[in-house]
């Protein structure tokens, strides 16, 4: 209902477009959009302007546009082509990609909009097209058809007025959900009857007013159980009639332009600004004497001379900006984006992350976060369905404290379990969903429910002799031990919710008794129990929980006629309420669900997923802190945690639970725990081998957590619990949070995310209750079951065990790849631009470019772009097997270690060093001497070409030195792009290009190659430039190798053997 509450307008729907009878309400013809779906962003006409606008909203593109315009307007050192061409290229490629995607959307929209729909008009069924559907139309939907818009169910071909729906295409949940028709209209069977309906729906408040002849209008509440959402499919029901209440669309197109390399580009910009300002200042210092500014051989034009000095300074500033803007290349943004986009395919392609059973592999919803997978410090995982299979098996039940022992209450207990649920019975075999064959000579039938616990319980009951047959006409039928059919009239279902953590049904037995059965978590049942063998059951429940079983308690209450009436009254009132319906319903439930008689408890086992323990162990070794967040009982959850090796025997468990805080104040407990943790840390501080040091596990429950997070009212004297809590958490390698409400899960993630180190968090969960947590975490991963909001997650993997490869292999690779990509881009552009900066000192700060226009333009686009792109896609510094075998390698890249300031500084220094070598190497060679064997001289373009040739080779070879994984593609691309440079240069200088107004490069490259000293100096300069990097690499490896470096040469395996011995 949240979906609609965003619409603040009062919405009245006139069913069948009939005016309400006079006197009821003024008929206000309302305008609603038609049912046309438009998911496309552009039309044919607005594509170019709108797309350009979208693209130039990006700050980077806009910056380059400004540079381009500056080049067009003022007289600048390089032609506008040098920045215009790359920009044009980038914009065009993006536009083509977006245009293609939009064209696909147009096609999809079209096929949806043309889809035929049956509408009831004047008592007849008329076939029309989906997009012609209007609000208020009565629509007929047949089995297996998809709802064309949001509908309110009026009547169904099923006699009980229900229909079954799957929302597979919406949220991926294949189970069938039951929807209910409006009670007053559910009797309608034919078009005529439906067509004669006269009613309005007051949409915002959720109420239908039905006008009957000469009667008071009847108001009925509408709830989520009446609303059929567009996109869901009708199942198991011949046909339904429903009224269209919401057509059209609400598109939420948030363009998420989030650049991860913002820090870097900020540095680049400040460096750029630094170079510009330095040069402009120097220029004016140097030009102080007019002879320098305008020697006799080099006058300005009259125009230029008359320009105001401020304008002149400004244009000079812009000209330097144009000259140095290459330090932030357009192509970097494109390359980073391409890397992310293409790189994420390796996740979807990964065969090892494909699950045969589910027939699904990993999915990537956002490629923006690939490298953050390599930076995860905290993993928050849901327990049920994520760590465990969510495949429940009924283990035992305990009635009045006696396991399996008959008792007078027993029958009632089993009946309670048979009745108190929302399980449906599915009779055919060819349906998807959770299937359970029942082979008892009867046609096979399945139990289907959104909760696997319920299915397990109902099936368990069947094994004990009580079979739930079906729900027919509001009567639940049970086949009891003696093969007799018992019928109970289902009066009310008090649905399960995660706050109450229980559900109830009110039924009327054939003997006329009103019974309220309730089933729920022990914590929510025990406080409401007035009699029954509480102690025994409690003991049993706790024992079961320790064994890791999921326990539920069952209780009942006999209602007298008057009590029932009262309960009925409460419920109806709450359901009809116009405001705060949720809240009032909760209140009503609270009033009704009390004074129980405890019947017993059940235990259901949920097995661990395969390799869950191995995965958790690996994550621990990789230095990640794993938190399990669950709604289960502490004991159950703790048992699972031990089984999954989250807690080991050596783990010292710290408890922060309600049980403890009842004894001591929260304050004391927190401080005590903190002391314990700190003491341990100070001990282990002396002991450098962390291997044997005790690690801590923390258990906290929902109640205590909310107490911790509650703003402290006792004043500042007690300090902030939040900080102490975080301090404790930081020192615990494993944390178990039990009895969590969904919102609390998100709160915890938020708390950790906002702590002062700003760690990268990852949340993994499978159910709807994990969505908020997943949204909050940096990286969200969805497990198997929860396609309910799989779109909210950034990555989806079929099983928990795949997390290991996802983080340790893919995450690690992506991180080192993107780190190298960003640093290398910076390095190569420092190498590129810094010689140009130095050249300004030797050309009178006249903004003379060192390199030719073609070189300036193509350097980042084609000479040096492909090798780094390929590197960033396929580099594997360590093999996949090694990464999987040694999770501790993940620690080497933790805390963003490859993108920190020292590393960045190293790259910068290397870039500047190389640039100085290029420039002054060429300078001393050219200094006042002849270069050729025929005595002829070279000019400035040869000088630039020499520097550029050394530059291209050095920069490419530097990448070659960094490459640890040489596939044939790497060879092809690296040597290919060097060859391309040579061929291009030969071609570029080989012809008098007719369309150019200058021929400055004519034969320059060939002349250079014809000179022996040029060859010798190119070789020399490349060698010198690469030397420091090689030395640094070799020395670091020899003297203090990182774990990764050891693993590369195969030493790592030995060290693990050492530990095991």
């Amino acid at each position: 209902w949240e979906y609609y509450s965003i619409n603040p307008f009062h919405r009245t729907v006139y069913i069948g477009h009939k005016e309400p009878p006079p006197g009821a309400e003024a008929y206000i013809p309302q305008r609603y959009p038609d049912n046309r779906i438009v998911s496309s962003k552009y039309t044919f006409w607005n594509f170019i302007p709108k797309n350009l606008f979208e693209q130039f909203r990006r700050i980077a593109n806009f910056y380059f546009l400004v540079i381009f315009l500056v080049q067009l307007i003022i007289d600048t050192p390089t032609s506008p082509v040098t920045s215009g061409l790359p920009l044009f290229f980038v914009i065009t490629v993006t536009a083509i990609k977006q245009g293609y995607e939009d064209w696909l959307r147009h096609k999809a929209d079209c096929s949806i909009n043309e889809c035929p729909v049956d509408v009831v008009q004047q008592g007849k069924v008329v076939r029309t097209q989906s997009h012609k559907l209007r609000v208020g139309d009565i629509v007929m939907v047949r089995e297996d058809e998809t709802f064309p818009c949001d509908l309110i169910l009026l009547s169904s071909s099923r006699h009980d007025g229900t229909c079954y729906v799957t929302t597979t295409s919406l949220d991926g949940e294949s189970s069938h959900k039951t929807y209910y028709a409006v009670p007053d209209t559910m009797a309608f069977r034919t078009e005529q009857e439906v067509g004669s309906l006269h009613a309005t729906i007051e949409y915002f408040v959720g109420r239908i007013n039905i006008y009957k002849d000469k009667e008071e209008p009847v108001a009925r509440p509408l709830g989520a159980e009446n609303l059929l959402l567009r996109g869901a499919t009708l199942k198991n029901t011949q046909r339904i009639y429903a009224v269209a209440v919401y057509t059209g669309m609400e598109t939420k197109m948030a363009l998420n332009y989030q650049s991860k390399s913002q820090k870097r580009s900020a540095v680049e910009k400040s460096m750029n600004a630094f170079l510009i300002v330095i040069n402009t200042v120097l220029k004016y210092a140097w030009q102080w004497s007019p002879d320098r500014d305008e020697p006799w051989y080099n006058h300005r034009t009259e125009n230029e001379r008359q320009r105001h000095v401020v304008i002149r300074a400004f244009t000079d500033f812009l000209a330097f900006m144009v000259l140095f803007n290459y330090i932030i290349p357009v192509s970097m943004y494109v390359t980073v984006e391409m890397q992310k986009f293409l790189g994420s395919y390796f996740i979807t392609w990964d065969e090892e992350m494909f699950d045969e059973e589910l027939g699904e592999g990993a999915q990537v919803n956002t490629s923006d976060l690939n490298e953050e997978l390599g930076q995860v410090e905290y993993v928050f995982t849901d327990k049920t369905g994520t760590l465990t299979e969510n495949n429940m098996e009924f283990i035992e039940c305990c009635v009045d404290g006696n396991v399996y022992i008959p008792h007078e209450h027993e029958d009632l207990f089993f009946r309670a379990l048979c009745l108190c649920h929302t399980v449906q019975v599915k009779e055919e075999e060819t349906v998807d969903g959770i299937k359970r064959g029942i082979h008892q000579g009867r046609p096979t039938s399945f139990y289907i429910s959104s909760s696997p616990d319920e299915v397990a319980l109902v099936e368990g009951m069947k094994r004990l002799g009580y079979t739930y047959l079906r729900l027919k006409d509001n009567y639940m039928e049970i086949l009891n031990k003696d093969d007799e059919i018992e019928r109970f009239k289902l009066l009310h279902v008090l649905n399960f919710d995660s706050v109450r953590r229980r559900m109830s049904v009110i039924v009327k037995s054939s003997s006329g008794e009103y019974l309220l059965f309730c089933k729920g978590a022990d914590s929510s049942i025990f406080p409401r129990v007035v009699s029954g063998k509480v102690e025994q059951v409690k003991a049993r429940v706790e024992q079961n929980a320790v064994e890791g079983l999921r326990t539920l308690c069952v209780a009942y209450r006999r209602l007298s006629e008057s009590e029932y009436e009262e309960a009925c009254h409460h419920l109806t009132e709450a359901k009809l309420a116009l405001q705060d319906r949720e809240q009032r319903l909760a209140q009503a439930y609270d009033i009704i669900e009390r004074d129980f008689v405890l019947l017993g408890a059940t235990a259901v086992e949920d097995r661990l997923q395969e390799k869950a323990a191995d995965t958790i162990e690996s994550l621990h070794k990789a230095g990640m802190k794993v938190w399990v967040l669950t709604g289960d009982k502490m004991e159950t959850a703790a048992a699972t945690c031990y089984a999954s090796k989250l807690f080991r025997r050596s783990t010292q468990i710290l408890e922060l639970t309600k049980k403890r805080t009842e004894e001591q104040s929260l304050h004391d407990v927190l401080f005590e725990l903190n002391r314990t943790v700190l003491r341990q840390r100070s001990i282990s501080g002396y002991d450098l081998t962390h291997v044997y040091c005790l690690d801590f596990g923390l258990i906290i429950d929902g109640a205590t957590l909310s107490a911790v997070l509650k703003p402290n009212q006792e004043g500042a004297g007690h300090g902030n619990y939040r900080e102490i809590f975080l301090e404790i958490c930081r020192n615990c390698s494993a944390v178990l949070c039990c009895r969590m409400a969904p919102l609390q899960k998100a709160q915890i993630v938020k708390l950790i995310k906002a702590s002062k180190e700003h760690p990268i968090t990852l949340a993994i969960g499978d159910g709807a209750n994990d969505v908020s947590m997943i949204l909050e975490a940096h990286v969200g991963i969805m497990g198997k079951e929860g396609r309910q909001a799989a779109r909210n997650s950034d990555y989806a993997i079929p099983k928990f065990k795949h997390l290991k490869k996802m983080l340790l292999v893919h995450g690690h690779y992506y991180y080192i790849r993107i780190a190298e990509l960003v640093q290398y881009f910076f390095y190569k552009n420092v190498c590129f631009i810094f010689p140009q900066f130095l050249y300004q000192f030797f050309c009178g700060f006249s903004q003379q470019p060192l390199y030719d226009t073609a070189y300036l333009t193509l350097y980042n686009i084609s000479f040096t772009s492909l090798p780094i792109l390929l590197y960033s896609l396929v580099e594997q510094h360590v093999t996949v097997e090694t990464l999987k075998r040694e999770p501790s390698l993940y620690r080497d890249i933790a805390k963003n270690s490859l993108l920190r300031w020292p590393v960045f500084l190293y790259w910068t220094c290397l870039g500047v060093f190389d640039a100085v070598i290029f420039f002054f190497g060429a300078y001393f060679l050219f200094d006042n001497t002849t270069f050729t064997s025929n005595g002829q001289m070279f000019g400035n373009w040869t000088f630039g070409t020499l520097v550029f040739t050394v530059l291209v080779f050095t920069v490419t070879l530097k990448l070659a030195l960094d490459t640890h994984h040489w596939t044939w593609i790497n060879h092809f691309v690296i040597w290919g792009s060097l060859l391309f440079y040579v061929i291009f240069s030969l071609l570029w200088g080989g012809i008098i290009w007719p369309f150019l107004n200058y021929q400055r490069m004519y034969y320059v490259f060939m002349q250079m190659l014809s000179s022996g000293p040029a060859w010798l100096s190119i070789i020399l300069l490349i060698t010198v430039s690469l030397l420091p990097d090689v030395i640094k690499k070799v020395l670091c490896r020899a003297i203090c190798p990182t774990a990764t470096e050891r693993a590369q040469v195969g030493l790592g395996t030995n060290s693990t053997v050492k530990l095991n011995l």
Binding site: E356, G359, T930, G935, M937, F938, L961
Partner: protein, 344 residues
Amino acid sequence: MMASSYNAKDEDGHITVSGPGGGTLRSKKPENTAFKQQRLPAWQPILTAGTVLPAFFIIGLIFIPIGIGLYVTSNNIKEFEVTLYDMSGPHQNPFRNCNNVFMYYGLSNFYQNHRRYVKSRDDSQLNGDLESLMKPSKECEPYAYHENKPIAPCGAIANSMFNDTLELFYNDPNGTKIQIPMTATGIAWWTDKHVKFRNPTDNANLTAVFQGTTKPVNWRRPVYELDTDPQNNGFINEDFIVWMRTAALPTFRKLYRIIPKKNSMVPTLLRGNYTLEVVYNYPVRSFEGRKRMILSTISWMGGKNPFLGIAYITVGSVCFFLGVVLLIIHHKYGNRNNSADIAN
């Protein structure tokens, strides 16, 4: 017991139902190609002290001899330089070889690489385009038109062409001065002279071709009177072409003349005193520049340039030294690693 038997059934049921479904879904399974699974065969080199060592020694062993060779060659080249403002006096000739001797003029503090200067030319005019001849490019401003006539060749570079005349005389011991013959061709790039620079038409009468244009303001003679030889006149005059190739740095030299060798037995320049006569036109005082004349011989590696040889020797030695250092490190740390392994 009951539970376990039930389980078996349960699984059976499950498998039969999911069979066909699994079949259709199998198509979603990613392809098992080496590329997609990131399993392409690859060479995985690692830079360790051990692998890099030989490379360092080899570089050292190759670079040092090259460096020595370059240094010796450079030292054998004879170069002689005079600054042209203190023009006078006889000079001793240091040259004793029989090869060509090249005469250069040098300028310092002259910014031929100033942006405004570098672009102040019209390549299509110089390439013989008739239209550009009459309508010089805007880049040539303010040296494009003079008195409403197009300047040919236009631009600051052409306008500031070096116009001193240098002549070398041998002071014969008997008191007579003998002029040394010098050639003015072969000093520009062949491609420049034959492709990049073209006279407007092949009409022999250059005077007619350049009708309607005017000479650059600073020039004494129009472009068609630069030389009497029609193959070295107009835009294809080699002195002009040499000047038009703008120098990289503010201190530069340009080839002026070649003193051809006589034969392999007689030195090109005889031992003795020489006089350099300069027609001093070119002003350099205003920008604090200097003019020089350089006589030099040329080897396969060009003119005298000890830098390259020294650099090679230095880099070679450094590499060799590093090789030794790495050898020690490799020995020390390599052993440590090995012993650690053996201990286990």
